[in-house]
């Protein structure tokens, strides 16, 4: 028995011993394996009564209970509104009688002359209520024990909101009330005490002012107050959104609850039941096994979320609480749609995170221990974003969890804007991909299967042998890390906006090298991936170089027209102020020498982005997708990155960037090397920079007319001819797997090696 290939004739075999002729699993895509795997996962999950309890019983019981509780609290609040709000201690009956008449007089004066000074609570909607009844509804006077009570203690212990002592005047005054002096003791730490104080002050001042004004007008009928004011009270829309503000958090907890049990059961549960070994012994890639589990967890999570939403809506509808909970509009289709969007994105993200955590656990208990901190971590930012002033903007749009909570909040209040929302959704999906890659790495690995070693340490374990290919998981990890790091470094760079433009360009170039070249190189070194073969750094024949030089120099007119087309479609979302800001930046950059611009934004950016997108990401994608599909996906990701992450990001950048990205990826696929794309990218960027620098001169030559937005037809035709011709040339002279890939000689078997 020798050689590395199959040796079916090496030994006689009886009938019935030959295995079934089955399609090679290596060639089987996930779509082939999915029906079998998902059927098993869903059957196993949905038949489990614990899942059903979480899925159905919890919402059916929880929401009516919550609704009843809410009603009970509401009724309790309305009952308390019928009782006096403030308790005032007063020692003698005479003092109480006088204070009552003084407050009633003040109340009457306020109502007649300054009704806008009354608070919502004081302005009783009942028009038949007398001032005496109004005071009685707000104030309850009590007599403290003893003849000489300790007034400070009474207030400090909050037994009374105020203690008032009265010294009555002996001389009768021309006023609605007999004169007197009051001594008020209030508590500085009690909001109610302070409100009671304001209530008494307002009425006494009204009485005094009215009395003075009456006396003065008696002397001079035309007298007026020197300052007259009118007040308007408007309810705040920022301080509290009530239950609506709490909705993102409730939604999050609902969604997470559904996924927790299936995630544990389908990963740690496989280990605990000793079914993992037979499962990973199947000729199916582990990433397929894990993805089927992800779909199962996602399905249950989504079902839980939707069933909870239905139960919540039904409870709210039956108890007629729509306006109380969701504002004037109540439960609208838009609101329900927003709810569904948030649920789906939450579910996509959380299912992946849950699987990443539970995949490293060897038992239910261990998985539960890991998930408790996750739940706490989920609740904390949920509470933080309820505070006023938090909106989905800037770096918050890419912070996991917080971005989705803020997006949920903004969607509910109808204030979500497209760009940060897109950033939040795309970054969340990338984090989900990263978490899935992590889970695939942990699930069923050597240590977990054998139980011989730790688990999380294996995550950082380097493979024993050198690799020549980038795994999809490594590519996803790199992409997921790129987004937050880019935002972080660009945020830092923006703080240095006062610096010279030259310095900013150089710093930007350093960041570009770090993120787009050093980051993937570091990840490859960590995983023992040999960079040259993995990134496909290979020499190609001269014809490809000629083609990419022409493409690099000749593509810009088409890209420029694509930008104009995007604008004409109305896909521009920059505000006028932001456009002004971008124009100022561009104006400042005109002072920078062109060679420096070309070096930083042309050469360094071109080479670095090619390293990341075509050398690292594309080759990772090619491990799971067909070459042309990988090129399209890589191009779209390249476009999305420029939409979301670029300084001054706009949607109008997507189509041109994605188109350029697809062409660059396709060139890398067809030539089998990352190098031609690098040259094309550098030439494309540099030609755009040179054109921008010499725009004035070119306008004079009628090449780029400032008044005429579109380029001359001759230029466009020439560009289209160059691009079409070159792409056709590359297509004709290459294959789908790259024409310059050398034919590998098979490694001889051990027993075939020369002795």
């Amino acid at each position: 028995m020798s050689g590395s290939g199959p040796d079916h004739d090496s030994s006689p075999r009886k009938a019935g011993t030959r295995p079934f002729r089955t399609e090679k699993t290596a060639a089987r895509s996930f779509l082939h394996n999915a029906p079998v795997l998902m059927k098993k996962e869903l059957r196993e999950t949905l038949r489990d009564r614990r899942t059903i309890v979480t899925l159905l019983a919890m919402p059916i019981l929880l929401y009516p209970l919550l609704g009843m509780l809410f009603r009970f609290v509401a009724i309790g609040q309305s009952k308390s509104q019928n009782e006096p709000q403030y308790i005032i201690s007063i020692v003698t009956d005479a003092e109480a009688l006088w204070l009552n008449s003084a407050l009633e007089a003040g109340e009457a004066i306020l109502r007649e002359n300054w009704p806008d000074r009354l608070t919502a609570m004081e302005a009783n909607p009942n028009p038949d209520q007398t001032p005496a009844e109004a005071v009685a509804s707000m104030v309850r006077m009590v007599k403290p024990d003893g003849d000489a009570p300790d007034v400070r203690t009474l207030v400090a212990s909050m037994e009374s909101d105020l203690v008032i002592r009265v010294e009555l005047d002996t001389v009768e005054q021309q006023s609605r009330v007999r004169g007197g002096k009051i001594f008020v003791t209030a508590c500085s730490d009690s909001v109610t005490s302070q409100e009671a104080l304001r209530y008494v002050e307002d009425r006494i001042q009204a009485t005094n002012l009215f009395s003075l004004f009456k006396q003065a007008r008696f002397q001079n009928p035309s007298i007026q107050l020197p300052v007259r004011a009118e007040y308007e009270l408007v309810a705040s829309n920022r301080k509290s959104k009530g239950f609506l503000g709490l909705m993102p958090l409730v939604l999050l907890l609902m969604t997470v609850t559904g996924g927790v049990y299936p995630a544990i059961d389908l990963t740690a549960g496989e280990r605990e039941r000793d079914t993992l070994e037979t499962l990973v012994a199947l000729p199916i890639p582990r990433v397929h096994l894990l993805f089927a589990k992800y779909i199962a967890v996602l399905t249950v999570t989504l079902m839980t979320g939707f069933i909870n939403s239905i139960a919540m809506s039904a409870t709210v509808f039956v108890l007629q609480m729509e306006t109380q909970l969701f504002g004037e509009a109540g439960l609208t289709p838009t609101f329900m749609l927003s709810l569904a969007v948030v649920l789906v994105v939450f579910a996509l993200f959380y299912s992946a995170v849950l699987l990443a955590i539970t995949s490293s656990s060897r038992s239910f208990k261990e998985a539960q221990a890991y998930l408790i901190p996750l739940m706490l971590m989920s609740i904390s930012p949920g509470l933080v974003v309820l505070l006023p002033g938090w909106h989905l903007e800037g770096v918050l749009a890419v912070i996991p969890l917080i971005n989705m909570l803020l997006l949920a909040g903004d969607l509910f209040t109808g204030t979500a804007s497209i760009l940060p929302a897109t950033a939040a959704v795309v970054s969340t999906l990338l984090y989900a991909a990263g978490a899935l890659a992590l889970a695939a790495r942990l699930f069923g690995n050597d240590a977990v299967a054998t139980g011989s070693r730790g688990t999380w340490s294996d995550l950082f374990q380097r493979p024993p042998h050198a690799q020549t290919k980038i795994s999809p998981g490594l590519a996803a990890t790199g992409m997921a890390a790129l987004f937050p790091l880019y935002f972080f470094f660009m945020g830092l760079l923006n703080r240095t906006s006062a610096a010279q433009p030259e310095h900013r360009l150089i710093l930007g170039a350093v960041v570009t090298i770090l993120l787009f070249a050093v980051l993937p190189a570091g990840l490859c070194l960590w995983q023992k991936v040999r960079i040259q073969p993995a990134w496909r750094i290979r020499a190609v024949s001269a014809q490809f170089w000629v083609a990419v030089i022409l493409l690099g120099l000749g593509t810009w007119p088409l890209i420029y027209e694509l930008v104009l087309a995007t604008r004409s479609l109305g896909l521009v979302n920059l505000s006028d102020s932001r456009l002004q800001q971008v124009a100022e930046i561009l104006e400042r950059w005109k002072q920078v020498p062109l060679p420096l611009m070309i070096c930083t934004l042309g050469v360094i950016t071109g080479i670095s982005e090619e390293i990341f997108f075509r050398g690292f990401l594309l080759n990772g994608l090619r491990e799971i997708l067909r070459p042309n599909v990988s090129a399209v996906v890589c191009g779209i990701l390249f476009g999305l990155f420029h939409v979301i992450a670029a300084d001054g990001a706009t949607l109008e950048r997507f189509l041109p960037s994605a188109a350029l990205g697809i062409v660059l990826s396709w060139i890398a696929v067809r030539t089998g090397s990352v190098l031609p794309g690098m040259l094309m990218h550098v030439l494309h960027n540099s030609s755009l920079l040179a054109l921008a620098a010499y725009q004035g001169q070119l306008s004079q030559l009628m090449v780029a007319n400032a008044d005429q937005e579109h380029l001359p037809m001759l230029w466009l035709t020439g560009s289209a001819a160059i691009v079409t011709g070159c792409l056709f040339w590359v297509w004709r002279t290459s294959s789908e797997n790259g024409s310059s890939i050398p034919v590998l000689t098979p490694i001889p078997a051990v027993n075939e090696l020369p002795k």
Binding site: M1, S11, R13, F20, K39, D274, V280, A281
Partner: protein, 250 residues
């Protein structure tokens, strides 16, 4: 059919390193039952996991029908049926659903799946509980489902890891009958066990594994001549008392 070549597996590095399997080589032709015997911790299960491609060897390789596990791991998995005493069943699925799942996982088309389920239901006497939830089955019934699961893709190679552990006399007899059937079908079989008396009844040839190394290999007659002992139990007791490693002699 099975060729294990200088298989070695070390766990950990430095002073804590454990050499679980140390340059192990053996071959199993079709129709032979090979007993890989050894006390607990001898490296039997680690060897089986490397043969299956679940564990990467530190060095060495395994060939199954000419497919190297280091290069064609999935093809190797397709040729092997695994029976493990510790293997559990999916408690919410019925034996029929479990067999259908594994048959589909090995890439059988729906017609083949149904044919195999019916054949194994008769062969392993599963009819009475084929559509009952697995959680309700007895230990013996579960083991029969496990044996059927290993054969669902009709593999030419079968690995059995402690197949009679936890079974009573009747259950063990089912396993013996199972192994005899496989032998008569010309399958290459490796049985790992530390129940040496049972191994004597089951196996055609033996490899005595101790601290990761193959100490003796051959038929029972060969081993008796080499060790001057009548039973495998006595041979092992000698090994356990021996301070020095004994070189393989076959």
């Amino acid at each position: 059919m099975i060729s294990v070549q200088q298989l070695t597996r070390q766990f950990g590095d430095g002073p804590d390193a454990v050499l679980a399997v140390d340059h192990l080589s053996f071959e199993v032709p079709p129709g032979e039952v090979y007993g890989l015997l050894g006390p607990n911790g001898a490296g039997k299960t680690t060897t089986l996991r490397m043969v299956l491609g679940l564990l990467t060897p530190t060095s060495g390789d395994v060939e199954i029908l000419g497919y190297r596990v280091s290069e064609h791991a999935d093809e190797v998995k397709r040729q092997i049926g695994l029976v493990s005493a510790s293997a559990g069943l999916y408690q919410w699925l019925t034996p029929r659903e479990i067999l259908e799942f594994f048959a589909g996982g090995y890439g059988l088309d729906p017609e083949q799946v149904q044919h195999q389920v019916e054949r194994l239901a008769d062969l392993m006497d599963l009819r009475r509980f084929l559509d009952r939830r697995s959680a309700t089955l007895s230990t013996g019934q579960k083991q029969r489902v496990n044996l059927a699961r290993a054969l669902v893709h009709d593999p030419p190679v079968v690995l059995l890891d402690e197949p009679t552990r936890g079974l009573d006399v009747v259950g063990s007899q089912v396993v013996f009958d199972f192994v005899n059937t496989l032998r008569s079908e010309g399958k290459a079989i490796v049985v790992c066990t530390h129940q040496l008396d049972e191994a004597e009844r089951l196996c055609d040839r033996f490899g005595l594994l101790f601290r990761g190394r193959l100490r003796y290999e051959g038929t029972l007659q060969d081993l008796r001549e080499q060790t001057q002992r009548a039973t495998i139990v006595e041979m092992f007791l000698d090994l356990l008392r021996s301070p020095q490693p004994v070189e393989v002699s076959a």
